[in-house]
Symmetry: C2
Subunit: 306 residues, 2 copies
């Protein structure tokens, strides 16, 4: 089934203990669409860039089968730019620069050919823009998943609450779940957040894996213990892309299939962190993905009789 993805397509400049980059291609929707393109048949991008965005990077997305009809190019404006520096433990980072540029007045226009999309992934963006996308879908999608971050909890809580109430799956990290719910224990946080609307909740815990909740069940997917995390930028978006891409490709939104989707999301994210930016993500084979998913299965599966 087809998958509509909205989010930022942007420039990043990244510094980690392993080195630093100049302006490279980044943004939530870049990672989400690249990741999901390995799984879903049709990936449709809604985003905005400036005239400074390289045509070859758009061509790169297209070469992954990503439909860029919904990518607006504002020739006289500049692309969104983010720059950040990771601390030595790679678990925290400082934002050095945020230039909204084209994102400041982003009006998400959905091409007519996208209106058939059954799956929608709302990458991290202003919750008002995310909600506009939902409202502009003429046919209700089968599943809407959403990412957000603490920034919107701080400055746009009411708008965020409205959007969260309209989605089926919310994907956030542990600190965001704690902030959003006011609960420290993640089980309690999950209950409160699902009461806000989403039927499913994914709480990402970085190197500690991810939890999937619905009203009755919880599933835990480990992260692969890695020798080296080279650059965590985009790992969360890549997870979301793998997750929703797997759901779109299998067209099954049961809890059991969501568990499998979390494994695919985790596997895709584990590739992302191996190199700077999208470097690893643009160059994956199906057999590599297959082998990585098998590693996740080997890591956590047990034969046990009670």
């Amino acid at each position: 089934m087809s998958l509509l993805v909205i989010g930022s397509v942007a420039f990043d400049a990244i510094e980690t203990p392993f080195g630093k980059t100049d302006k490279i291609i980044g943004g939530a929707a870049t990672y989400i669409t690249l990741s999901s393109s390995y799984l879903a048949d049709q990936v449709q991008l809604v985003a905005v860039v400036g005239g400074d965005f390289p045509k070859e990077d758009i061509a790169l997305l297209q070469s992954h089968g990503i439909d860029t009809q919904g990518l607006q190019i504002k020739e006289n404006e500049k692309s969104f730019f983010w720059s950040g520096k990771y601390h030595n433990d790679m678990n925290s980072r400082d934002t050095l620069v945020t230039e909204l540029n084209v994102l400041e007045h982003f009006d998400p226009i959905i091409p007519a050919s996208y209106q058939n999309s059954s799956y929608v992934m709302l990458g991290n963006l202003s919750p008002d823009v995310q909600r506009t996308v939902i409202e502009r879908m003429e046919i209700k999608p089968k599943l809407i998943a959403m990412d957000t971050m603490n920034f919107w909890m701080d400055i746009a809580k009411d708008a965020l609450d409205k959007t969260i109430a309209m989605v089926d799956v919310l994907i956030i990290n542990d600190e965001e779940a704690r902030q959003l719910s006011g609960e420290y224990a993640l089980v309690k946080a999950a209950q409160k957040i699902m009461a806000m609307g989403p039927q499913f909740l994914i709480i990402k815990k970085g190197e500690h894996g991810a939890l999937l909740f619905d009203a009755d069940s919880v599933y835990f997917c480990p992260a692969l213990p890695l020798e080296e995390v080279f650059d965590p930028t985009g790992a969360g978006d890549t997870f979301a892309g793998g997750f929703i891409g797997y759901l779109a490709s299998t067209d099954d939104i049961s809890f059991d299939n969501m568990k499998r989707a979390v494994i695919y999301g985790s596997a895709m994210a584990s590739f992302c962190v191996e190199k700077f930016g999208t470097e690893r993500l643009v160059n994956l084979s199906d057999s590599e993905i297959h082998a990585r998913v098998q590693q996740f299965i080997d890591l956590s599966q047990v034969q046990i009789k009670l």
Copy 2:
């Protein structure tokens, strides 16, 4: 098969955000033997207490089928005492009081009837005392597992290295693994630590689960997402007791069976934290344990075809 356990049997005074206790029964060997008593047939305790240690607490251990022939009682001395206060996040604690008392000159005497033990669990103690136990076993046990802590890495590294080189399984937490190896990434830490001697390594990550390594494989067992952690004291020892108790009861030291043992250890530990001290651990039923192990399986197991 029979299981020999050495470690402290002691008094603890605990303060958590939920309240505080007077002196209650504690110590690594108390938690290990109680936990393993639900699984292993014969649990044999080697420890030392002072004349101040209540006879009813010894009777309590005996009522769980724990053999206390190896429990020395120094009538004119005082039992080991530890007092600690947990911070609000329950992940860190301050030690308020440590009185070694009888532990200062502990000579671990192994009763003749314990010499047949196939499984040995060395609870956290001076590495010299731990090694003495190994040297005093007349027949080489089938499996020796060992816990330790950063304190011994700080003050007795050479003695610790000697003991680690003699054991089959080392069970430590993530911070200890990092300190012991000088490596931040746990995969690298594991490789270095196994090169020190142990064929198997378990790295406990508290609320984030536990990793089991051998030279070729890694298994990840999640922790149960809990609504409330009431008191973490003894959770690591309870894990070790469940782990080694399951191995002793099944008498199978394959990697696959160790994976199951890690689930049993995690299940036992998840009970421990529900109440103060040993309160929950002294009062468990087989059906409760069975149901909890099932919860761990439900939490992490997936049907997936590649």
